[in-house]
């Protein structure tokens, strides 16, 4: 991300297409998550069999929806809206975590959101991505401490938090940036800031 273009008009005034794009991205990710959920369990279980916090290395994709939503829409609330809707869809279709997925979606989206809010929703480069990704992963880890990993000692809990935060910050951000750039380069993001960035790069 070399340039930073923010959304048009007042940042809090969402256009219809902003709302619908977040909503549809959420639904598309929800369907994708449901499909990913079917295949990710076996490798995750195999890798983390010896050291359970390693499961974090397979959990970072669940945060990509919120990051992509924020990178595209660039308005306050975009990460929470997209991530929460992805969670609603996968929960209603049926995931292994049932309706508690909603809580995950909420805390993950909030974490990502905070990363961008810290920069006043004005910067869409690596700094807010790394911060937001880490916070999103960390929030999810803390929620899981109390709902799933109640038996773990602090060593495991902290290791899990650091692993999840770091993998979202790095891998989640990389995938999100790649997806956003791919969408922008095919002209699918013309009404949004990333589309404008692509056009400006080409104009030079």
């Amino acid at each position: 991300m070399t340039s930073t273009i923010t959304a048009s008009g007042p940042l809090t005034r969402w256009r219809t297409i902003d709302l619908l794009t977040c909503a549809f991205l959420g639904v598309a990710f929800g369907v994708a998550y449901w499909a990913w959920g079917l295949v990710y369990a076996a490798p995750s279980a195999a890798v983390s069999a010896g050291f359970p916090p390693l499961a974090a290395l397979f959990s970072w994709p669940w945060l990509v929806a919120g990051i992509v939503g924020m990178l595209i829409i660039r308005r306050p609330g975009a990460a929470v809206f997209t991530e929460l809707l992805a969670a609603v869809v996968s929960a209603l279709i049926g995931t292994q975590w049932g309706l508690t997925t909603l809580v995950s979606g909420l805390v993950q989206g909030l974490g990502v959101e905070l990363g961008f809010a810290a920069f006043g929703y004005a910067v869409y480069r690596w700094a807010p991505l790394l911060l937001g990704g880490f916070l999103g992963g960390a929030f999810e880890a803390v929620y899981e401490w109390y709902s799933y990993w109640t038996d773990w000692g602090w060593d495991y809990k902290v290791a899990y938090l650091l692993l999840l935060g770091a993998s979202v910050a790095v891998l989640g951000s990389l995938l999100s940036v790649a997806l956003t750039r791919g969408l922008a380069s095919v002209g699918a993001l013309n009404p949004f800031p990333p589309g404008q960035e692509v056009r400006e790069q080409r104009a030079v």
Binding site: L20, F29, A32, V89, T95, G98, T100, A178, G187
Partner: protein, 762 residues
């Protein structure tokens, strides 16, 4: 009721960002009150853009430089929400609700019409467009023509003074299109509306309009006046630009000479012999909507179809007759639930491929590996955009030849010749997703036949295409047939039917009759979504609360008891089926979560079974309530409750609810993207890396689809007054009743049981 308004366009210039030249430049146009205008011009001439400008929606789904002025009845187009009605090409693209009545009421909600007034107005307008079914029927059950009439009703209920139709009949067959036109004619005459129609198939509309305006490729008005006179002067040149002008004979299929493909499957079966044969085939589809049990419908039952080398078959029949389903079953893209699909022996993987085993010889095509299937079968889905797999146009055409290991140079020559003939050579290095609809259609046809498949399947390949793309599609199909492929086309297009060697008519299979006795409803189906959600989420503290397996067993017992109570269906009538099965089905994936937690607890807790089972029970206690209630949550009702009871902001809630109506569409899109990859020879059959890349690629495809749907729906919703609907009324009530209170109490009871267990049990 209002009558037609005057439309005035002055000095309008529109340049979308990223384009060097404006689509419309200094355009002036005046349309009198009640005038009926047909807007014609070649693809890319800015017809739809002009329509959006008149609706005041140019900046809704695109960004660019806009100057000049558009007024409707002297005011800005969206000054009075809904005063300019807009109907889009794709039936169903503007659907926002789960019932047709609710969908029509959408515009009324946005302008804060009180609930009591809505229902009579909705019923009246449904009757006006000839939709006589009950207002609570689902838009998904409508045919294409009915969907367009629903979109018309959604616009009319706002009492517009101008009606704009953007290729409203392009995706419909001739008879259905005539029906839609008749309704439009009647409504426009009765209400005296100003009408602007964009179409590239002009016949049928000419009697309905009193003026035609022709745009040229640069977006300038080149002809304007009485339709007969304009067509007499310019008919030939319009036809040469691709417009379907009445009286000009249909185009001839484009002559295409294909270089022979290296190792082609086409021609391996002798001319006129059977390539694939489907016998007594049955295909079932499962439709799934959130908040409802999934339903299986019979798409094809007991159908036979032979595809013969060097011959073409046109599959015809009304919509819903199972044409696409039979075709995809024939091509091994879906598994038939009964009957057999048998390919000719020379085409089976054992003979044609390199992995000769008896199993492969006997396996039906739907079990073949991706490259084995790709070698034999080509498939062009109805939405050409779905079939894109390459990064550039040339890449896309060469994907399958290279996946099959064909000689790069020879395959490249064939591909380049195809692209040149289809008028795509200058786009060879462009990303295919940047192409226009017609160009994508031609590309999809080129990519399908590039490797010389023995069976070419095309789903409605000419729908909505102009004359130029029509000729290209017909040309590719004829060329494939001439090199020995069997060609199967589903179509409503008389031109395609005439070109086919054989016509097979399908009729919709009789659906098994529904049981006449009314089904009893489980207690939980009487509970609102908020209470269900609250009950399932108030168990969140349980894992932190419970610390032994005995406590877990106790709480789980309470949960199961309350859950079973909620599933009871007292009263008279037929017992509902599959209640427990549904809950257990939803718990099956939860078993994974439970096992994961139990394993890590066992590992940590000194490999103690008591510790592990305690951990497993805690997670189960967390998930069982969800599994019981989730099937009873209806997303639309949830939206109503969130907005009216919890006062969440209206616009995001409506956007989310509208998107949730489309989950099924994404499910279908996912399946179609996977089927495309399989038939193109690029499906990852094994290996985690390949699968990971595939997941990313397909997710990207889903997102492109999501963005496309979002922009179409944004247009449709803003045309119905959604842009300013920060305060709105709601057509669905959101009551809180006794069952809601009881359900919430049950959830709290579980938590109380947890506390009690913690205090009394060790």
């Amino acid at each position: 009721m209002r009558s037609g308004s005057e439309v005035r366009v002055e000095d309008l210039t529109w340049r979308p960002f990223g384009r060097s030249r404006p689509v419309l430049e200094r355009l002036d146009l005046e349309i009198g009150p009640g005038e009926r205008v047909l807007l014609a011009g070649p693809s890319g001439s800015g017809k739809s853009t002009l329509l959006r400008a008149v609706a005041g929606l140019l900046l809704t789904a695109d960004s660019g430089e806009l100057s000049g002025e558009v007024t409707v009845g002297g005011a800005a187009p969206q000054a009075v929400p809904g005063s300019v009605g807009l109907v889009l090409q794709d039936p169903g693209a503007g659907v926002v609700a789960s019932t047709i009545g609710r969908d029509v009421a959408f515009g009324l909600e946005n302008v804060q019409v009180p609930l009591a007034e809505m229902s009579p107005r909705v019923r009246a307008v449904l009757d006006e467009v000839g939709l006589t079914m009950p207002a609570d029927c689902s838009p998904a059950t409508l045919s294409g023509g009915e969907s367009q009439r629903l979109a018309l009703a959604g616009a009319l209920v706002m009492e517009p003074s101008v009606l704009l139709l953007d290729e409203p009949t392009a995706m419909l067959d001739a008879a259905t299109a005539a029906g839609v036109r008749a309704v439009v004619a009647e409504v426009v005459a009765r209400r005296g509306l100003t009408l602007v129609v964009v179409e590239h198939r002009l016949d049928g509309w000419l009697d309905l309009v009193d003026r035609i305006v022709v745009l040229d490729g640069s977006g300038a008005v080149v002809a304007d006046g009485d339709p007969r006179r304009v067509l007499a002067e310019r008919g030939e040149s319009l036809a040469a630009q691709g417009i379907w002008v009445p009286g000009v004979p249909d185009p001839e299929p484009l002559p295409i000479a294909l270089d022979p493909a290296p190792d082609a499957a086409a021609g391996r079966v002798a001319d006129g012999r059977v390539v694939v044969s489907a016998m007594d085939v049955r295909v079932e589809h499962t439709t799934r909507r959130l908040g409802e049990p999934s339903r299986a419908t019979l798409a094809v039952d007991g159908a036979d179809l032979d595809a013969r080398a060097g011959r073409s078959v046109a599959l015809v029949g009304s919509s819903g007759a199972g044409k696409s389903s039979l075709m995809t079953a024939l091509g091994g893209l879906v598994a038939p639930s009964a009957g057999a699909v048998e390919p000719a022996l020379p085409l089976t993987p054992a003979e044609a491929g390199d992995r000769g085993s008896t199993r492969d010889r006997l396996a039906p095509p739907h079990e073949w590996a991706s490259t084995d299937l790709a070698r034999v079968v080509a498939w062009v889905p109805q939405r050409a955009a779905t079939s894109i797999v390459g990064r550039t146009v040339r890449d896309d055409v060469l994907t399958t030849p290279l996946a099959l290991g064909q000689d790069r140079e020879r395959a490249g020559r064939r591909a380049d010749a195809l692209l040149a003939t289809l008028g795509l050579a200058h786009l060879a290095d462009v990303d295919p997703r940047q192409l226009s609809g017609g160009e994508q259609r031609r590309l999809a046809m080129a990519s399908a036949v590039a490797h010389g498949p023995a069976l070419v399947l095309a789903d409605e390949p000419t729908v909505g295409q102009d004359r130029l793309t029509w000729a290209a599609v017909a040309g590719v199909l004829a060329a494939a047939r001439d090199e020995g492929a069997a060609v199967v086309v589903t179509t409503h297009d008389p031109g395609v039917v005439d070109d086919a060697d054989r016509v097979v008519t399908l009729e919709a299979p009789a659906q098994p009759a529904p049981d006449p006795a009314p089904e009893r409803r489980p207690l939980l189906s009487r509970v609102g979504p908020l209470a269900l959600l609250a009950a399932a989420l108030c168990v969140l503290p349980l894992p932190a609360l419970l610390d032994s397996w005995r406590q877990g067993v106790f709480v789980l017992g309470v949960e199961v008891l309350l859950g079973l109570l909620g599933l009871l269906a007292p009263g008279r009538g037929r017992a509902p089926k599959g209640r427990l099965r549904g809950v257990l089905g939803r718990l099956a994936p939860a078993a994974l979560a439970v096992l994961g937690v139990a394993w890590s607890a066992w590992l940590l807790g000194g490999r103690d079974l008591e510790v592990a089972s305690g951990a497993a029970l805690r997670v189960l206690c967390l998930l069982v309530p969800s599994a019981v209630v989730v099937g009873f949550i209806d997303p639309e009702q949830l939206g109503d409750h969130l907005a009216q009871r919890l006062r969440l902001p209206a616009r995001p809630v409506v956007a989310a609810t509208a998107a949730l109506q489309r989950v099924q569409a994404f499910d279908t899109l996912w399946a179609e993207l996977m089927a495309t990859r399989r038939v193109r020879g690029t499906r990852a059959d094994r290996g985690p890396v390949a699968r990971g890349r595939e997941a990313v690629a397909v997710t990207g495809g889903l997102l492109v689809g999501a963005l496309g749907q979002a922009s179409a729906l944004a247009l449709a919703m803003d045309a119905r007054g959604f842009a300013g609907a920060t305060r709105r009324t709601w057509a669905g009530p959101a009551p809180w009743r006794l069952p809601d209170t009881l359900t919430l109490a049950a959830g709290l009871l579980v938590v109380a049981a947890g506390v009690a267990a913690r205090l009394t049990l060790s």
